[in-house]
Symmetry: C2
Subunit: 402 residues, 2 copies
């Protein structure tokens, strides 16, 4: 695996291109006042695919339709409508999602069942089908030359309250994996995350691709929580068109995991109102599930999040958040075995010395704050990602209608 760190803000961003055989276009379909809000990424040849979706009971028609199409493991295109989730919109919402898929398939000359559709934004409002239809009519008129958009254009067209487009790329042998993602709030992914699409020219069987995706998601998007709220539209999908030939599965899985973790960190640090990325690692746990349970309890604690916002190394709130996890299976955790460190500097049970206090203050003021906890019970470890809780989160969500 070779790291090519071409994230949106990186120096190589301008050069970021699709893996061989993929192309994309973006356009304005009237979902927002201005700017591109519809995107399509497609493979010029058949591809194998794997996908995971929200477990929300209120999953929208885009998810329901995409889940059915993804079952064939041969998706070739992904289309996204931004600013409207098309959730809880009844039968008309289902018909609208199906019509958009049909339009995209016609544009590409492929069957509907090869198209995945994502929808993100406000819940409970009908799609503006008049302007969407006009958009697709115009796109059909432009033909293949419409497809000149790069990953950054697509990531930008997927944004809602995101402040930055999220992209990432990794190389595996002769192949590359390119990912685009969006999501800033309603963000505690469960089984998948808010719209992350991964495209690769690697050649590998659908079963292997599925296994690789599940491994990668479990170690990345599933370790993310901005606000404990799980979206109705979460979707993550990977398309592999084989244009670059076969790859080693272990290498591919490692690269895919690393890429997903890159996107996860981008999502966390752009969490609604976030000023800091928060990374919580729990080590010396009995098992990984316990480590993750405790880490999630800490990363989701509003009191820990506000303390991090205030640059306060408040270990009292950290031990509170560990202790409030009162499932019977976690009652082997005992206060006198627990240690807590901020930025690698232990604060409990050993308090910082005058010598380390400056370093601690400095660590709390960074744009990324790490909390490391050890339980003294075993050897398992887990890391989760989140962000601080600021007045900005309240502001954006008290006025914005999702």
């Amino acid at each position: 695996m070779t790291n090519i760190h071409a994230s949106a803000s990186g120096g190589e961003a301008g050069a970021l291109s699709w893996p061989r055989g993929f192309r994309a276009y973006t356009g304005h379909g009237g979902l927002r006042d201005q700017g591109d809000d519809i995107s399509v990424v497609a493979s010029d040849r058949p591809a194998v695919s794997a996908a995971m979706f929200t477990r929300s009971l209120f999953a929208g028609p885009a998810v329901v339709l995409s889940r059915a199409h993804a079952a064939g493991r041969d998706l070739r295109a992904v289309t996204t409508l931004a600013q409207n989730a098309n959730v809880a919109t009844g039968r008309q919402g289902e018909a609208n999602a199906a019509e958009v898929v049909g339009r995209v398939a016609a544009l590409l000359g492929i069957d509907d069942r090869h198209v995945l559709i994502g929808s993100t934004g406000v819940i409970g409002r009908p799609l503006p089908m008049d302007t969407i239809r006009a958009h697709f009519d115009a796109a059909a008129g432009r033909g293949p030359e419409a497809f000149g958009a790069g990953p950054l254009d697509v990531a930008r067209a997927m944004m809602t309250t995101d402040t930055r487009p999220k992209t990432a790329v990794r190389a595996v042998g002769a192949a590359r994996i390119v990912g685009v993602a969006k999501g800033v709030g309603m963000l505690e992914p469960d089984m998948a995350t808010m719209l992350a699409y991964l495209f690769t020219d690697a050649e590998l069987p659908a079963d292997d691709l599925d296994t690789a995706l599940r491994t990668a998601v479990d170690r990345s998007f599933h370790c993310l929580s901005v606000d404990t709220d799980t979206s109705t539209s979460d979707t993550v999908a990977v398309l592999a068109n084989g244009a670059a030939g076969p790859v080693d599965l272990a290498e591919f899985t490692a690269a895919l995991t690393d890429l997903c973790l890159d996107l996860t960190r981008q999502l966390a640090s752009d969490g609604e109102g976030a000023t800091k990325l928060l990374r919580v690692t729990v080590g010396r746990a009995r098992d990984e599930a316990q480590a993750r349970r405790i880490a999630k309890s800490v990363v989701n604690s509003p009191l820990v999040k506000t303390a991090v916002h205030g640059a306060d190394p408040n270990w009292g709130r950290v031990v509170m958040a560990i202790g409030k996890n009162t499932e019977d299976r976690d009652r082997d955790i005992t206060p006198d075995r627990v240690t807590v460190a901020f930025g690698g500097i232990e604060v409990y049970p050993e308090e910082p010395t005058p010598q380390t206090l400056d370093a601690l203050t400095d660590a709390m003021r960074q744009s990324e704050v790490s909390i490391t906890i050890t339980l003294g019970l075993g050897t398992a470890e887990a890391t989760v990602y989140g962000c601080d809780l600021s007045a900005g989160y309240v502001r954006v969500n008290a006025v914005y209608t999702t």
Copy 2:
């Protein structure tokens, strides 16, 4: 049961007195810069008692000691130290808690094991024992006449970031029940709540008192969540000294429950940064546990809380919060059976009409906002209490060290 609504802000507040046989004092022990921070409430005769405590793994020495004393079911006095939780303070913290209990017992001329101690405030700082000792020396010098404090004085001496003292009173036959409570953040009680003490002159067996307390707590404090964070110091205790003679158990339980609910609502509406009390009722559930699970999911959703703060009847976020409850046992919930109403006005699936829209806007602007959900599965119902999420919550917790 007779309702005597003498809450702190009510007109009768000035007249609120203890049940027969109880007395109290408050004083300044140097825990905060100024104002009373130590309180003692005691019965002048033996009493029976029942108590419940936090299930936090990091319960402090006050809880550990009180739990042992409460096991005797014959508590006669309750003392509270405000501004310092004395949690995670090691062996010295245990010795300090025991010393305070000893001082209170000596002052009252009773055995240590009849004293319950509560501690609330910052975690991880040693108690200022010098000023605390000086305080008790002075109190011992004053003798019985120190005991002139009323419930409102005690509730005030228990406050930390509370903006209002919380008291409530109910009558049962010839007896009365008086409650005092504190708590504004780190407030999702589990098995008990952040310091609520109930005093009654009713006469009833300890077993019955225990049953009544568990029933009352289950229907009140357990239905409260300000921020999902469970305190290390939660304690609720009831002392009954029998001075008013026997009471009907059912009547007593109803009065105690009603009183605890009164305190619960006071705690919720004074949640840190809160501008609105939020009441979520889930009806037509399969069973009460399901109703409560879904109601908690809604009342704790940061996106629902911020919408309520912005007076936005955002049912999309409510269905999101219902749907994110993805436990297998709740997968019988189906979107097309669910209804959602704000202030009694249905918003899903029937949208408000132009006629009801004004009433809806009005309902969202009240200081108490109710969300009513029906699941269409059965007949069970549950109500939980919380508050909105405002920039004030962030402010108070980004600067205040708990």
